[in-house]
């Protein structure tokens, strides 16, 4: 994956604290990357993770504590996937832990 300006902007944005608006921005960029780049599956999953989390935050009175619970670990794991993609790996191995974190944070696991 070429180290272009968009990927650099994504890394920079991941260093700041997440927010609903920032997650919506990430989702939009990952959607575009899924359509433009060969690593379609990885970017598609990243888009859905961001969109799902943004939806969870939307229109809610989210306490600071709850916000940290919902977003814990997400930015670091997205950055891990991006680094993996940059190194020429498919990023797929890092996707499962990311989705697991998302489900755990949202309290969706039933097992």
């Amino acid at each position: 994956m070429p180290d272009d300006r968009l990927i650099s902007r994504l890394f920079e944005a991941l260093e700041a604290e997440l927010s609903q608006e920032r997650l919506e921005w990430f989702a939009e960029k990952f959607e575009a990357l899924a359509q433009d780049r060969p690593q379609t599956l990885a970017f598609f999953v990243l888009q859905h993770v961001c969109q799902r989390l943004a939806s969870a935050l939307e229109g809610e009175a989210v306490s600071v504590e709850r916000f940290h619970e919902l977003t814990a670990g997400i930015a670091d794991q997205i950055a891990d996937v991006l680094r993996d993609l940059q190194q020429g790996n498919g990023g797929v191995a890092k996707l499962e832990p990311l989705v697991t974190t998302l489900f755990r944070n949202l309290g969706l696991f039933r097992r």
């Binding site: 608006e21 229109g59 009175a61």
Partner: protein
């Protein structure tokens, strides 16, 4: 208009929509209060009051600016009940009014006609863009962009609650007047025991 309608709306917002605590807002900013406007905009009494008060403000602002207005809408879903309430009030008060209502999707449909705006909107319309709450102005600016891209003209912007955190300025920098039915100062008593004064509409 009876000023008491605006007072009633303010009381309802204070009773149902203002939550105190430590919150993270959509922008990521931290705040000691949260405005859950939907419990008021989707309350039948609240919707009726928003319609009555909002339609008066639309007429008055359009007249002051010398602009015709023929549609009202904003970004789904916060703006939807506000726009429809005002559209219904306009129709009840003046059945000949041309005011129509539309809604703006957060993103364009990927299939079909790829529309971003749904409902009663046509290129060339002069519209009031509405929102329930503005903080940074992000969702309102998204709606403004969609209206302009699809050939509409923004007459002005009207919001139910302006949190006074830069949103109004961001929208006005784009050249659009912003009218707020209420501001943070109207709803949050900073001086304990003294209710904020609301100017009559």
């Amino acid at each position: 208009m009876e000023s008491s309608l605006k007072e009633q709306l303010r009381a309802l917002l204070q009773q149902k929509s203002i939550c105190h605590g430590e919150f993270t807002l959509a922008s990521g900013a931290k705040s000691d209060f949260y405005v859950d406007a939907r419990v008021t905009t989707l309350d039948p009494r609240g919707a009726w009051l928003i319609g009555q008060v909002g339609w008066e403000v639309v007429k008055e602002t359009a007249s002051k600016l010398g602009r015709r207005v023929n549609a009202i809408g904003g970004l789904t879903m916060g703006a939807d009940p506000v726009a429809l309430s005002i559209g219904i009030a306009a129709q009840l008060q003046d059945p000949s009014t041309p005011l129509q209502v539309f809604t703006v999707r957060k993103s364009a449909k990927e299939h079909g006609r790829l529309k971003r705006i749904e409902g009663n909107f046509s290129p060339g319309d002069s519209v009031v863009v509405v929102d329930d709450v503005i903080t940074t102005g992000g969702s309102t600016l998204q709606a403004i962009n969609a209206v302009e891209i699809e050939g509409g003209r923004v007459a002005f912007v009207m919001v139910l609650v302006d949190r006074q955190e830069g949103g109004r300025e961001a929208i006005e920098q784009r050249g659009h007047k912003v009218v707020a039915l209420f501001t943070r100062a109207d709803l949050i008593d900073t001086d304990a025991g003294r209710p904020a004064h609301i100017a009559a509409v």
